[in-house]
């Protein structure tokens, strides 16, 4: 008789949860979709950050990417909004309850076309949330039309050529004052999970523009958003390490080769430079990096720009420090004296 193996206890995090407990319903996307890989990294990052899942608020618009908020953290609430309008829903919710960890997932169509207006104003306001763009250059759910992030000259499977320039969401975000701007690739899981953890610790809007190939409509040889193209062309600008606030920083670092960025919550991001002397806190350099990458058709990934001290929208609006949603009813209605005073002044 063979011995029965001890049931293996899955590891749990600081709040006693396993990674499985950060999962959601089964994905209905195509097999091999880049988005599913990103979903797994978001799940992993939430687990590693020991987030209490009931504090997670997931937001999305419409499109393949926007379906994915159902695929992680189903112990948190989710809101699947209308096309391109997720920023407004998230803004309203976060203004009244900043204790939530807001994670928005959008696509390139949802963000760069129909939602461009709301995206721009979300960034400008610095609403506290993680905003992931699953960028594949095409509209997947309507069967493969070009989006506004498709590179000029790239081709559809049908042979149609895109004549218009691509919108660079990272450059746009930097220009609009976003304090955490990253580009990554769904195939670079280690980098992505570190960037996500940094984004969750950041105060304000954190934008992650993640190239996430569409296996059905935009994974062919003439695409610049295919797995092969991204793998062949990805150049990380640094290696990223995330040190949560509760861990002591043990390892010394050489400021010549490594940049250390302290985030608002006490966490640190360690950037080991791979590109000569890149400073991720230099806004002008970050912008020129985006522009140069375009000119050279380079696919640069990493934390392109970070400004941890920026005030978020609640601080700017004077409503930080107390979630308005938690104020008891009795303190929401002014007393009779106040109404009497107002009426007296109108007599």
């Amino acid at each position: 008789m063979s011995s029965v193996a001890e049931p293996k206890v899955p590891p749990s995090n600081r709040v006693g949860l396993t990674v499985k407990e950060y999962g959601g319903i089964k994905s209905t996307l195509c097999v091999g979709c880049g988005h599913d890989v990103i979903t797994r990294q978001i799940t992993q990052a939430l687990y590693e950050m020991s987030v209490r899942p009931y504090k997670v608020a997931k937001f999305s618009g419409i499109g393949c990417s926007s379906k994915t908020t159902a695929y992680f953290a189903d112990r948190g609430h989710g809101f699947n909004a209308v096309h391109g309008r997720m920023p407004a829903i998230a803004t309203g919710a976060m203004m009244v309850n900043p204790d939530l960890l807001a994670i928005g997932v959008s696509g390139d169509g949802d963000t760069a076309s129909i939602g461009a207006g709301q995206f721009v104003h979300l960034l400008r306001r610095n609403v506290p949330m993680v905003y992931v763009v699953e960028n594949n250059g095409v509209y997947g759910l309507t069967k493969g039309q070009f989006s506004a992030t498709a590179d000029a000259g790239s081709r559809l499977k049908t042979g149609a050529v895109n004549d218009l320039p691509a919108m660079d969401l990272c450059a746009l975000a930097i220009e609009l004052g976003c304090g955490y701007v990253a580009r990554s690739f769904s195939g670079d899981m280690k980098q992505l999970v570190a960037l996500l953890k940094g984004a969750m610790a950041h105060r304000g809007t954190a934008l992650l523009d993640v190239i996430s190939p569409c296996v059905t409509f935009n994974n062919h040889d003439s695409s610049t958003k295919s797995y092969k193209w991204a793998k062949d062309h990805e150049i990380p600008i640094h290696e990223i390490g995330f040190i949560p606030y509760y861990e002591e920083i043990a390892v010394e670092y050489d400021p010549g080769t490594t940049q250390d960025v302290a985030l608002h919550d006490g966490s640190h991001i360690r950037l080991r430079k791979l590109r000569e002397d890149y400073d991720a806190t230099d806004k002008a350099k970050a912008l020129s990096l985006c522009l140069e990458a375009h000119e050279k058709t380079e696919f640069l990934t990493g934390l392109i720009y970070v400004e941890p001290a920026k005030k978020d929208f609640l601080e700017l609006s004077g409503v930080s420090g107390q979630p308005i949603v938690s104020v008891p009813d009795a303190r929401l209605r002014p007393p009779k004296k106040a109404l009497d005073e107002i009426m007296e002044a109108l007599k």
Binding site: I25, R52, P53, Y54, K55, A57, K58, T69, A70, D74, R75, G76, H77, G78, F79, N80, A81, V82, R85, P87, A88, I89, A90, T91, G92, A93, M94, M95, V96, N97, D99, L100, G117, Q118, V120, H121, R125, L314, S317, G318, V319, G321, Q322, I324, V325, V327, D329, R331, L332, R333, P334, K336, A338, L339, D340, I342, M343, L346, K347
Partner: protein, 616 residues
């Protein structure tokens, strides 16, 4: 000048009986010339004399230069609708002076800038030329202030001509300038200058007189937008997201202003209202839905074009069942239409706003008191029914000055609806109903229970919010029976709402064969019309609708009358249409009176409509 001479000069010409406390004063100026302060002072002084009064600002879509008019109606009977005939005209705008003179009633008094030489235009009115330009040079040394102060001079001239008590004028000036001594002094000097000049140089030849009475004791004067704002504040609104649009902007600004004083948390001192000026109306309603979903009382305020833009999000709010309050201060649309003129323009479009089988709760206040009270109701209903609720005011109600009783302090606590806020509440719910299912009708009224993000640390509490493609457990589905089940429950919820919305105000007149149905700001003109028709021997019953969906009262009212006139301030008879759909066989009893020229409704229009109908 001795009092005796003054009295003699003011005495009415032989043969014309005095018109006492019952006429309109029409002031024509150029936009941006600061006449608003002068007009407010004149109106308030009359109000303080105890004379019922209303003030209407007819203004262009412009900041400076285009013509604007302000009409003050004094009415001893308390009628405060627009009055068609003008008794006293003050002509300060050369551009419109000729046209203005042509439009006044025969026998009117016309005060005008002497150099305009208007006195040859008509022979059936009384002209009072006044050298405003010369006077302002004498009275005001600061050149920059003259443009504004010139309007104060006509206050003084009118005060002399009509018999406005100067002590009340001074009190009104003091109120207007919040007792800033320098401003009070300069303006009072200009007003006294006008009065003294008129005393010395004019002889009264018109019949219009104001005399102190006791018709305004304890009353307030307020614009509907400020009234709505106070209601929203007292309702405990926690998030205001808005985009500027005439005529609703002053509502948001008034709320922000009041809240900055009265909505600081008594315990922490922090604001309990968050405000976002959104990038457009789409975003404004999106933020409101986000706030409502998160558990906060959330609102936006807009007008017709904004309502159009909110269409998609309204549908999401309806299907996902998220509370939201949307104030629609209706106007003529579109933005290059007559954006500064009034209309009941959005009744049908808002009732059915959005895609699919959407329909909504509309509250329709008919006075500033109701703007206040229904703003509070709107938040209670939005949370009770977990749906967007529209408060339908209009430009006339919202931006004009209305006399009203002071608003009462709310007598009910906030109704936050069916929310499971704590773990204990959730556990009790699960014990009773087996599980928490977001969209299950466990109470039989069509209204499900909800939880809020971030409140209960339990996997049993969470759900995923999306449009109509969900089952009772908020799971995505395209199964026909799930979709139908959900739609039927939403319809059931709407039926429940009929019992909760404010019912109509019905005024029955024994033996009246004619009925009138009206709503919103039409009330003032309709009430006045009924009195005048009654004096002529035509008695009428009256039902004033205050909400959609209809309650059974409307059908009963129509059944009790031979003919019912439905008064709409729009071309297509929007409420008339909705009533016809509702009534079935009795729909043939309905007649439609439609007023749609951009002006507020007046009693004459209603009287003419009914008299014409009754002749046939």
């Amino acid at each position: 000048m001795s009092t005796a001479v003054l009295e003699e000069k003011r005495s009415e010409p032989a043969g014309r009986p005095p018109v006492l406390n019952d006429f309109s004063i029409h002031v024509a100026t150029a936009n941006g010339s600061g006449s608003m302060s002068s007009n407010s002072i004149l109106m308030r002084a009359i109000f303080q004399m105890g004379i019922p009064v209303s003030g209407k600002n007819l203004f262009p879509s412009n900041i400076q230069g285009l013509p604007t008019w302000f009409t003050i109606r004094a009415s001893k009977d308390g009628f405060i609708a627009r009055r068609r005939d003008i008794g006293v005209l003050i002509c300060m705008n050369p551009e419109t002076a000729h046209e203005d003179v042509r439009t006044v009633a025969p026998g009117a008094a016309v005060i005008y800038e002497e150099s305009l030489k208007l006195d040859t235009l008509r022979h059936d009115v009384v002209f009072y030329p006044v050298p405003f330009q010369k006077l302002v040079l004498e009275l005001v040394s600061d050149g920059k202030l003259r443009r504004l102060a010139i309007n104060m001079i006509y206050v003084g001239v009118a005060a002399w001509l009509l018999g406005v008590d100067m002590a009340e004028v001074e009190a009104a000036v003091s109120k207007q300038f919040k007792s800033k001594a320098a401003a009070v002094d300069i303006n009072m000097k200009a007003i006294r200058g006008g009065l003294e000049w008129a005393e010395k140089n004019l002889t009264k030849r018109d019949p219009f007189r104001l005399e102190r009475m006791n018709g305004t004791a304890g009353k307030i004067i307020i614009e509907g937008n400020a009234a709505t704002a106070i209601g929203c504040m007292m309702a405990g609104v926690q998030l205001l997201a808005w985009y500027p649009i005439t005529p609703s902007s002053s509502l948001a600004e008034s709320l922000i202003d009041y809240a900055s004083k009265h909505r600081l948390d008594p315990v922490t001192g922090k604001p309990t209202l968050a405000v976002v000026q959104a990038e457009d109306e789409l975003a404004a309603l999106g933020m409101v839905l986000g706030g409502g979903w998160a558990g906060a009382r959330s609102m936006t305020t807009t007008s017709g074009p904004g309502i159009s833009l909110m269409s998609e999000f309204t549908g999401l709010g309806y299907y996902a069942e998220v509370p939201a309050v949307i104030v629609d201060v209706q106007r003529v649309g579109p933005s290059t239409g007559l954006p500064t003129r009034t209309m009941q323009g959005d009744i049908t479009s808002t009732y059915y706003l959005s895609h699919g089988d959407a329909k909504h709760i509309l509250l329709i206040p008919g006075s500033v008191e109701e703007c206040y009270a229904m703003a509070i109701d709107a938040f209670d209903l939005a949370e009770r029914f977990q749906t967007p609720v529209f408060l339908m005011t209009d430009l006339d109600l919202g931006m004009n000055n209305w006399m009203a009783d002071p608003f009462p302090y709310p007598d009910k606590p906030l109704d936050r609806g069916k929310v499971l806020r704590t773990k204990e509440e959730l556990e009790a719910h699960v014990a009773k109903f087996r599980e928490f299912a977001r969209y299950r009708d466990v109470d039989g009224d069509g209204i499900p229970w909800r939880t809020l993000p971030g409140f209960i640390d339990s996997p049993a509490a969470t759900y995923f919010t999306r449009g109509s493609g969900h089952n009772e457990r908020a799971q995505y589905t395209e199964r026909p029976e799930d979709y139908k089940n959900n739609m039927d429950r939403l319809a059931r919820k709407f039926e429940t709402a009929r019992k909760y919305v404010p019912g109509p105000v019905v005024s029955k007149t024994a033996g009246a064969r004619v009925g009138i149905i009206a709503y919103g700001s039409s009330d003032f003109a309709v009430e006045e019309a009924r009195v005048i028709l009654g004096r002529k021997g035509l008695q009428s019953g009256y039902l004033r609708l205050r909400a959609l969906p209809f309650t059974p009262d409307a059908a009963a009212f129509v059944a009790a009358h031979e003919r019912v006139y439905v008064v709409d301030q729009n071309r297509d008879g929007q409420m008339y249409d909705l009533l016809r759909l509702e009534l079935g066989a009795d729909a043939t009893k309905l007649r439609s009176i439609r007023h749609y020229d951009g002006f507020p409704l007046d009693a004459e229009t209603v009287i003419e409509g009914i008299e014409a109908g009754e002749k046939n």
